[in-house]
Homo-oligomer: 116 residues x 2
């Protein structure tokens, strides 16, 4: 069964999640950072800077900077590829997995609260 939403439900879902994130004290990830983080955690590895840049349709420095920021937050880690030392492999972290999991729970909770 596909997930069917009515227009107002769809917008209310997004509103409620955005509100929850804004009200939360934790620093917000940008839309791009969110897209990168979820790609890393939902799609099969390996993940490289170049691959992520192509996937998002952005330039490489955008990925480098986002990985800098999320690396400082402990959400992802970087390692040189030992087979081709030009590559950087982006890996998941325990803290990042927890963050993503909590975010999924938030979406589920807000979806369940939607009026009919």
């Amino acid at each position: 069964m596909a997930v069917n939403l009515r227009p107002v439900q769809a917008l209310q879902l997004w509103q409620q999640i955005a509100l929850a994130e804004v009200r939360d004290d934790a620093p917000d990830l940008t839309l791009r950072q969110t897209a990168i983080l979820l790609t890393i955690y939902l799609e099969p590895p390996p993940h490289t800077v170049r691959g992520l840049a192509a996937h998002l349709g952005v330039t490489k420095p955008v990925i480098t900077r986002a990985l800098d920021t999320m690396g400082r937050m402990g959400l992802v880690s970087r390692h040189r590829d030992q087979n081709d030392r030009r590559n950087v492999l982006v890996k998941r972290t325990v803290e990042g997995a927890l963050h993503v999991e909590r975010f999924g729970d938030l979406i589920i909770a807000k979806a369940a609260e939607l009026p009919l």
Copy 2:
């Protein structure tokens, strides 16, 4: 029937929408701007700077600046309240309504594409 999502579905939904927005050429709204815009379009008026600030749990300058930006984009408009000229009433625009509507359609489309 409530909207039930499984964890991976919830995260994939968010990922697909974030990806679509990032790939789009249009400038991204920040999370706060999004929350403000959806609040204006989903909740009954009147909307004031102070009311929106309280609703989001942020300071008033955040709202003023977001309204500046979204006003330049044509997504909202501001008008002095003639009953109490200290207040500013935030109003919807045709362009903003179209933007919100398109965004709702995007969510619905991505939700319908989710794997089971």
